[in-house]
């Protein structure tokens, strides 16, 4: 089966939906049973509201897409007022993604969310947004800053604390170790890769901010390599994501060392994909006489 106990949290399935690809959970409620999703990581929330970047913000690529939304969000106070009440009614597990520009931003945002007393089970900390100048990327590329930020946040919550890692670094292992040493419960890997596109008719950049985050199946091999590197480097659990589009992908990530996975870009095409893949994963377990899919964690063999 694909359910899993993760820290003190029981996830009904190992397949979550990634931050920024599922809004605040209510948008698809008329199409699918959102409670059937293993967990929802909500769109990045910041200390203060953000308008986001000017258009164009998205472009299609070979087996993927570029996005540069720029962390558009209502800000944490409005989040507590208008988003948390609905999220509190859901049975699926809610993880709140937090982005920031300075340690105080992250800490204050997390403290406000703690004080709001929501049912959410944890926080995923975005230290790796490539699309805003001050998107936490300075944290995401420094093991030392990742460690001290993690330690500061650790003091503020006993809920799950998950640091989201960037692939746009020299050594993702060092950053993962920083998160582990700082007291993170888990890391998620990976955020988007830096990409770019040009419209040859207009000779303009396809994305207003020039550089953008590449996601989708195009980045799956990169994500898998990074998950494996992190698995070799740390003992804490790993949430794998990056271009997952089918149950075979999910199993690959688990064999590479992931405990849970997140679906991102594919949610746009198929809002219920995380539920379908969880069912297919259960079937895979039955077909292969596995009591839990997690028995396969990190079991990839070398040549």
């Amino acid at each position: 089966m694909s359910s899993i106990k993760f820290g003190n949290v029981n996830f009904s399935s190992s397949i979550l939906v990634a931050s920024g690809t599922y809004g605040y959970g209510h948008e698809t409620a008329s199409m699918i049973d959102v409670n059937g999703i293993g967990g929802i990581v909500t769109k990045s929330v910041t200390r203060h509201p953000r308008e986001g970047n000017p258009p164009p913000r998205i472009a299609e690529t070979s087996s993927g897409m570029l996005n540069s939304i720029g962390l558009a969000n209502v800000g944490v106070e409005e989040y507590c007022k208008s988003k948390l009440p609905y999220l509190n009614e859901l049975n699926t597990k809610i993880i709140i993604n937090i982005a920031g520009t300075a340690v105080e931003d992250y800490v204050e945002t997390l403290q406000i969310l703690e004080a709001a007393g929501g049912k959410h089970v944890g926080y995923e900390i975005n230290i790796s947004c490539p699309n805003v100048k001050e998107g936490g990327m300075s944290f995401g590329v420094s093991a030392q800053m990742t460690e001290s930020l993690t330690a500061e946040l650790r003091k503020c919550t006993s809920k799950l604390l998950i640091m989201k890692l960037s692939p746009n670094v020299t050594s993702i292992e060092d950053i993962a170790l920083g998160a582990e040493n700082g007291g993170a419960d888990a890391v998620s890997a990976i955020n988007t890769l830096v990409g770019m596109g040009i419209d040859i008719k207009t000779r303009k950049m396809k994305i207003n901010t020039t550089f953008a985050g590449l996601s989708g199946p195009a980045i799956k091999p990169v994500a898998l390599a990074n998950v494996y590197k992190v698995f070799k480097a740390v003992k804490i659990p790993i949430i794998g994501l990056g271009g997952i589009s089918c149950v075979e992908d999910v199993i690959e990530f688990i064999l590479a060392g992931a405990d849970l996975v997140q679906i991102g870009t594919l949610n746009y095409r198929e809002p219920g994909i995380s539920i379908r893949l969880a069912q297919e994963l259960d079937q895979y377990c039955k077909d292969h006489n596995l009591s839990s899919i997690h028995d396969l964690k990190g079991l990839v063999e070398h040549h």
Binding site: Y22, S30, M31, E51, P55, P56, I58, A72, V74, G272
Partner: protein
Amino acid sequence: MILNELAIVESTENIAANTFQTFLKSPKLAASMKPGQFINILPSENWDKMMRRPMSVASQKDGVISIIYKVVGQGTQLMQNWSVGDTVDLIGPLGNYWDGYTDKLSILIGGGVGIAPILNLTNHLDDLGENKVLIMGARNSSEHFIEHNPEYGIYMTTDDGSLGIHGNVLDPLKLALENIDFQNVKIFACGPPAMMEAVRQFSIRQNIECDLALETLMACGFGICQGCTVEFEKKQEIREHTYRNRYGLVCMDGPIFESKEIKSCHL
């Protein structure tokens, strides 16, 4: 309420040069869609693209909806190749819809990709017995499939003069507005950005009420990806799906916007 429905292909007709109309049996969508709304189409279960293709609906009647598209890329090529009886995954109804078309004389302007929502409203006004003017712009006669009939308020324009009025849609628009109090007119337009921007600026200059249906790239179509933004002329109240007040989402705040509401039709 947004639905995810598996529709069945009923027929596809070649209505103009490289332009097709496909009828899809889709009872739930047909019962709930209004003229101006759109659906997000997965052209094939197996395709390697990440984004569905958003398309305005050209008709919704008796359990069947139709779309009109020009074959320009892989997605529309797949659509043209659909066989009768094929299953197609649709999400809809999406976006807002035309309104205010019974209060004044409606002038409908369509062009290129924008003919579907304009045809939809045209037929709806015919059903209601409402008077209207219809203007369709194209590069040449091969792209037109409606008769140029100025006597009945139906004007075709072509860039090369091969059919109807030699010029752009503003020429018959000015003709249609002769001897009419502009306060008794409302324009509804959908087409290429340059055409819509010309209509938008004209309507603002002349102080004519004007609604425009925008088209842009979308990843989801229902407010999650925040990718299909349009800049508002003035900051608006924060809405649930837009998160902030400077940019609107074409999928949720639109696709139809008042001409004065937005900064430009070039997205």
